[in-house]
């Protein structure tokens, strides 16, 4: 059921609405505005793009799916953490998805590809890549890169990010299966 403007209702698909908000005490320096600033809007749009690719929106026409992400503490790799958390939340809500969406960031320093950058590494200014992957099919939902990176190194960095995302997928898969097993035991299945 849609709040806000009904004119935005899509007749054949569900609308995915994402909001990214980070707490004012989440980063080293205190942030003034938790949401509504440019970075939060941009993150919201990126999350929306990622999840529109993964959620089976045709199954829920004329409805809206809201995904609200709240960052409590940020130490680099916020986009990746948001995507992983939102995947679990959407699964927990029972909304059908094509596949898990696993994300990881990667960078390139001193001719080595690094996976999952921390805040210090991100602030150092090297090239950064954010990758959101659907592991089963290997399809990429979102790929974003900042700064300059030589084309030859792209392959290596992409491979590092994909490998890390697949590791995250194994972990998420295990957790979801365990949760479902526990839930079905409790329901007396």
């Amino acid at each position: 059921q849609i709040r806000g403007s009904r004119a935005r209702a899509l007749p054949d698909r569900a609308l995915v609405n994402c909001q990214y908000s980070s707490a004012t005490f989440s980063t080293g320096e205190r942030k003034r505005r938790p949401h509504g600033d440019r970075k939060s809007c941009e993150m919201g749009l990126q999350l929306r793009q990622t999840f529109e690719a993964a959620i089976l929106t045709q199954l829920h026409p004329r409805s809206q799916i809201d995904i609200y992400v709240q960052v409590l503490q940020a130490d680099g790799g916020t986009y990746a953490a948001c995507v992983n958390a939102a995947t679990l939340a959407v699964l927990d809500a029972g909304i059908p998805m094509r596949d898990f969406v696993c994300a990881c960031s990667a960078g390139f320093v001193d001719s080595t590809a690094l996976a999952d950058l921390s805040h210090v590494e991100e602030a150092a200014g090297g090239p950064q890549l954010a990758l959101a992957l659907l592991p089963a099919s290997g399809q990429i939902a979102l790929l974003e890169m900042d700064a300059r990176l030589h084309e030859d190194h792209l392959e290596q960095v992409l491979e590092a990010a994909a490998r890390a995302a697949r590791d995250v997928h194994t972990l998420l898969d295990r957790v979801v299966r365990q949760h479902v097993r526990e839930a079905s035991i409790l329901l007396g299945d």
Binding site: R3, A23, F25, R30, Q73
Partner: protein
């Protein structure tokens, strides 16, 4: 009427409270409080600033309340701002007296430098009784706040330089003895109840917010709600508020001291428990 509520509590009983401090590591102090379904996270960041003109010898506190969209979808975008400003203004009022927090301890050099404590409240989930939970969380976070010790060095020209102490454990702690807690009393029918759930709040016409310190001193009182209260019930509610407030403070102090005494090796549940 018979001192029995829907969930079996008496009129003056609180729901089960869970308090945990030091949950966010890049803040000076933090606390998370869960009271039934209400979930609040408070982070305190200490930064250097200049003292206010009318109080050159004191530091100050700044409050900011953010209602997360996770609590209710109406808080998306700008929706939670009204509630946030209302809560922040209430917090300013209850801390607006000389005895709550020792502001002189926050002063580094008069008229030039002082510590400003930015207290940020994040509403994660709303389950009734927001004000009480927020005040408990603010008190716990202030208790947990560790402000690094600074030294002011003066060189020949008279320009001052602030030097931060190198030892991360060398810090000043605030005394939260006199920090008040809010007790909300909702009037339902002829009786008043403490710690109302969402359903009880929906039934109540008016409530009284009383901010009480651990010694039973009332620092601020406010009536909210569309209904009206007659004067005798206000006095009665205030007495109940003082009584309940003292008990609340005593149990909060004991929990905080117990948590602290477990030392750095204690198991942190954080958000994954």
């Amino acid at each position: 009427q018979e001192d029995l509520r829907v969930d079996g509590r008496g009129c003056e009983d609180y729901r089960c409270v869970e308090v945990e401090t030091d949950v966010v590591s890049n803040t000076s102090g933090s606390a998370r409080v869960k009271l039934g379904h209400t979930d609040i996270l408070v982070g305190v960041k200490a930064e250097m600033g200049t003292p206010k003109l009318e109080k050159p010898n004191e530091g100050y506190l700044e409050f900011f309340v953010d209602c997360s969209a996770n609590a209710t979808p109406e808080f998306e975008g700008r929706g939670g701002d009204d509630l946030g400003t209302e809560i922040a203004n209430t917090l300013y009022r209850i801390f607006n007296n000389k005895s709550s927090v020792d502001l002189k301890a926050l002063c580094v050099s008069p008229r030039e430098h002082c510590w400003v404590l930015y207290v940020d409240v994040l509403l994660l989930e709303c389950g009734g009784n927001l004000f009480d939970t927020i005040s408990i969380a603010v008190k716990a976070a202030l208790f947990n706040t560790r402000i690094p010790r600074v030294r002011v060095l003066e060189d020949e020209e008279g320009s001052k330089d602030i030097e931060l102490s190198d030892d991360p454990y060398d810090c000043i702690r605030l005394s939260v003895e006199n920090v008040p807690c809010i007790v909300t009393l909702c009037k339902i029918g002829y009786r008043h109840v403490v710690d109302a759930t969402l359903q009880e709040e929906a039934c109540s016409l008016a409530s009284l917010l009383v901010s009480v310190t651990s010694k039973g001193v009332v620092t601020c009182m406010r009536k909210v709600g569309k209904g009206s209260l007659d004067p005798e019930s206000i006095f009665e509610m205030m007495e109940t508020g003082k009584r309940v407030g003292k008990v609340l403070h005593a149990s909060l102090q004991s929990i905080l001291h117990k948590e602290e005494s477990l030392g750095p090796k204690r198991q942190k549940v954080g958000f994954l428990g």
